[in-house]
Symmetry: C2
């Protein structure tokens, strides 16, 4: 899967939330703090099409855009990239790191424990 930038990701988020949408609808729903012009949104949509992570179907004179990859697949790709690049492909060091850095609340710990327990055969 092709890599996408942060702004492109913001567009994907809109479409993962609701699809299919027209370009104008995407623009409406884009994060307000980006203050995108319609032109910018259209550029993003065009590039995402080229990258193959979006598809579009004709709807009269305009297009309806929808994701071609699932958010889950995208998350998987990015997570694995990080784990591979920074933690030698091992998940444990990542969790250890987050734990050490106080990114785990007691509730997180409980949740993760439950989750792991459920995984065991």
């Amino acid at each position: 899967m092709e890599r996408i930038g942060e702004a492109e990701f913001a567009v994907m988020e809109v479409l993962w939330d609701a699809a299919p949408l027209t370009a104008a609808e995407v623009a409406e729903r884009a994060p307000v703090d980006r203050r995108w012009s319609m032109a910018t949104v259209k550029t993003m949509l065009g590039r995402l099409l080229v990258k193959g992570v979006l598809t579009h179907e004709e709807d009269g004179r305009r297009y309806l855009y929808r994701p071609a990859v699932s958010r889950d697949d995208y998350l998987a790709q990015e997570s694995e990239r990080l784990v591979d690049r920074l933690f030698g492909g091992r998940v444990t060091p990542l969790v250890a790191h987050l734990a050490q850095r106080d990114r785990l609340s007691p509730r997180d710990i409980a949740e993760i424990e439950a989750l792991l327990k459920a995984l065991k055969p």
Copy 2:
């Protein structure tokens, strides 16, 4: 902390592994598959200095470079960025995701469980 690219990260890895080093030494120890020219290594070192993630001290006519941020701090920053951006800042969904994607071996699970147990008061 300023963001750094992947090639820049490769240079940092060299210096996290051994420091201080001269530019020539960094070039020697750089990943072979990169096939970097000296010029490239020097560009990287220069940019990393500007970004403030390296420091250098004079050693006669050349410099000795050393990291200005710890690898741990860098990992923390990048991990948190990913967790924030993709998982709403919650670690649990990330672990859940990795688990679902078969990125966790039974051994991983055991290790993480031990790790979490140690965290509890």
